[in-house]
């Protein structure tokens, strides 16, 4: 096994590196010898954390993907299952990337087609701006000022006393909200995001409901999907076993 020093800078990314390895090994994208290629790939990116490479994370993600594919291929195949080749997705991606890599080489040839031609810029035509000439009365000005004042008063910081009703320590249990939501979902099957907040009596309650939704999503107990027709997010009970 020759040990070539790879200058990772020369590759645009993991797909580029893989294409290079595939071509070097004289194999086809559609039948990658996964064990061999994975080994070479890992060797190529050895010590990448120490180098200052752009896209380091993408190289590492690909390493993980290769290992995953390799492990799937090493597992004994279940005869009843007709699973797709675990390499298929990668092959597709490599093929597509390769197309555009070739296309970019072609484009490169014509990059400076009009290098020796000069073009005149668009004419900057200035349209005269008509002077403002409408008439107003002083009363209109006073009214305008008046509405500004009112707006300022409305937007002014409220006095501390005004908060006493809200910033009391109201305790709302997220668990309660979570239970309430789960029960509703069992009954209604699907709830629009907005309506999950119906009946909330205070801000802490709104916040608790929101946190409950997030908690349920992270526990995979509910799913949140966007619906094009309703232009809103829809909450549903998660009846599937695994997370997606």
């Amino acid at each position: 096994m020759d040990t070539l020093l790879y200058k990772l800078d020369n590759f645009e990314g993991p797909l580029d590196l893989l294409l290079h390895l595939i071509s070097k090994n004289k194999v086809s994208i559609y039948d990658i010898p996964i064990v061999e290629i994975t080994a070479q790939y890992l060797e190529a990116i050895e010590g990448i954390e120490a180098m200052e490479i752009e896209n380091t994370s993408e190289f590492l993600v690909m390493a993980a993907q290769l290992l995953y594919i390799k492990s799937k291929m090493l597992l004994p195949k279940n005869e009843e299952e007709d699973e797709e080749d675990p390499r298929e997705d990668l092959a597709r991606r490599l093929f597509e990337y390769q197309q555009y890599k070739e296309a970019s080489k072609e484009l490169r040839k014509t990059e400076f087609s009009t290098r020796y031609m000069f073009f005149k810029e668009e004419e900057a035509i200035k349209f005269p701006v008509p002077e403002y000439d409408k008439h107003h009365s002083v009363d209109e000005l006073i009214d305008a000022f008046g509405s500004i004042l009112q707006r300022k008063i409305r937007l002014a910081k409220p006095e501390k006393r005004a908060f006493s009703g809200i910033v009391g320590r109201e305790k709302v249990s997220i668990g309660d909200m979570s239970d309430r939501l789960t029960k509703r979902l069992k009954k209604d099957k699907r709830i629009a995001f907005i309506s999950a907040f119906d009946g909330a009596k205070s801000k802490p309650e709104l916040v608790a409901i929101f946190l409950a939704i997030l908690e349920l999503i992270s526990q995979n107990k509910i799913i949140c999907d966007y619906s094009d027709e309703e232009k809103d997010y829809i909450l549903k009970e998660n009846t599937r076993g695994k997370s997606e």
Binding site: F95, L107, E111, F118, F119, E122
Partner: protein, 196 residues
């Protein structure tokens, strides 16, 4: 407008406009039809070329644009200064190829194809006036769609994105054959089953 003068009227218009002018617009303004306009441009070009005149007319995006003849570049640049055009990086070129063949397309889709983050490349292309925003995709996040500009056509010697050569992928084997651009500018893979 006397028919004889139409070519010269066009010459004047193209000079003043600077930017490309569509044939249809010329026809409307000169109160004639597109064929006459095309004939007129043909005549102008013939005169320019046979006498090696200082300018020529190029086809861009269904329109015509006047520009200086490359033969005289050396003299013009002595007066106006060198047109210093920096070459694009490979990353930018890849992103540009993807956008050119698949427009309109989002940054996310570009990144999926390239397998790496493409922020820098895309921004660079926007800066150089080679791509522009073309609305947003109707999907969560409403990401920006990109397409190539007229300037792109000009720089790469194309008159429309349809002039992009179809890629011959037969050398790479497999069931996947050619990629080509259809009328709406979307890349399609010919001769293969649905991938998903």
């Amino acid at each position: 407008m006397i028919k004889d003068k139409i070519p010269y009227a066009i010459e004047g218009i193209l000079f003043a406009a600077g930017e490309p002018v569509k044939a249809a617009k010329l026809a409307a303004v000169l109160e004639t039809d597109i064929e006459t306009v095309e004939e007129a441009v043909k005549l102008l070009r013939y005169n320019y070329d046979t006498e090696e005149r200082g300018m020529t007319i190029i086809d861009i995006d269904d329109g015509y644009q006047l520009c200086s003849r490359p033969d005289y570049y050396n003299y013009i640049q002595l007066i106006l200064g060198e047109q210093r055009r920096q070459a694009l990086s490979n990353a930018a070129m890849e992103a540009l190829a993807i956008i050119a063949y698949k427009q309109p397309i989002t940054k996310g889709q570009i990144e999926y194809i390239r397998g790496v983050n493409s922020d820098a490349a895309v921004n660079r292309l926007v800066e150089r006036g080679l791509i522009e925003e073309a609305g947003r995709l109707d999907a969560p996040g409403r990401p920006i769609l990109y397409r190539t500009t007229q300037n792109f056509l000009r720089c790469f010697g194309l008159s429309t994105p349809r002039d992009l050569p179809p890629l011959d992928m037969s050398q790479f084997g497999g069931e996947y054959e050619q990629i080509s651009l259809d009328i709406d500018g979307e890349a399609q893979l010919e001769g293969q089953e649905e991938l998903e």
